[in-house]
Amino acid sequence: MSSLGRRRFLSSAALGGAAVVGATAFGSVAPEQALASPSLELDPALPDPNFAEGRISAITGSMLMVTGSDRTLHRIHVTDGTSLWKLRPTTFDAIKVGDGLYARGLKLDDGTLAADSVWVNIVNLTAHITAMERDVLHLDHHGDRVVGHVVAGTTAAVYNDTPAVSDLSLLQVGKHVQVIGAWRPDTNEVDIATVFAAA
């Protein structure tokens, strides 16, 4: 079984944040809302200076040294107020060299990114279930095989509009799913946080 590099995972997942829109979706945005959102000031064609992605090459104190997929070097400052996620909300000591991340915060004058949120090893996959074991979902992610590990006490399922539940019994082989999880670096394996499935 071949391994997938993080870049492969993330490029596959790059458009994975699914927005679900209601019946009023196409109403116009109120001007006061638009003007209140800093992200609207950005040209969509330009990189967002307040966002970074890459793999951690070193950790110095509370600073993460990150090499982006385009080889850009980022210095990401984690504070007590930074929200950290690695399969679940976590703490700084869970972050390791070699982990991948996405970070959002505020780019400071010294070039560092003061992070509001850091998502470590997060992946967002659309896939089909090819086989199931008690604690494993075997997934076909657009032709690549991915092993999804069920983590007791963490993995949850969402069936259409149900609340997240720990019961995975409604998952079926052959069905499509969306998986939010944490990549195990340099493997084709993920730990599953949430699996979305059509009921």
Binding site: A19, T24, L40, L42, R104, T126, T194
Partner: protein
């Protein structure tokens, strides 16, 4: 900041088929810009179409809510940079408006 849109071309529409879920999404091609506003926190982001997706018809009737504010049916995918400007990546999906 980029997004995928289910009606970016004829070929795209034939795959995604939002009409099967009752969604009448206008044709908008690569480069078109949208403003996406989260119904969870009113944060907004400008994105431009760079891809086709999501496959809306696989998820007909799917619903997600923030309190009493709900959305149904998948109509857009966002890059992590765009999504994280209006919500947490670990949430995976959110209700929003598109303009």
């Amino acid at each position: 900041m980029q997004c995928a849109w289910p009606n970016a071309s004829n070929n795209c529409f034939d795959i995604t088929r939002p009409d099967k879920c009752g969604k009448n999404l206008v044709r908008r091609t690569c480069g078109h810009q949208f403003t996406i506003t989260s119904l969870c926190n009113n944060k907004a982001v400008r994105v431009k179409i760079a891809d086709c997706g999501p496959q809306t018809d696989l998820w007909c009737g799917e619903k997600t809510c923030c309190g009493a504010k709900c959305g149904t049916n998948r109509i857009m995918d966002l890059t992590p940079a765009a999504y994280s400007a209006i919500g947490s990546l670990s949430g995976g999906r959110l209700p929003c408006t598109v303009a």
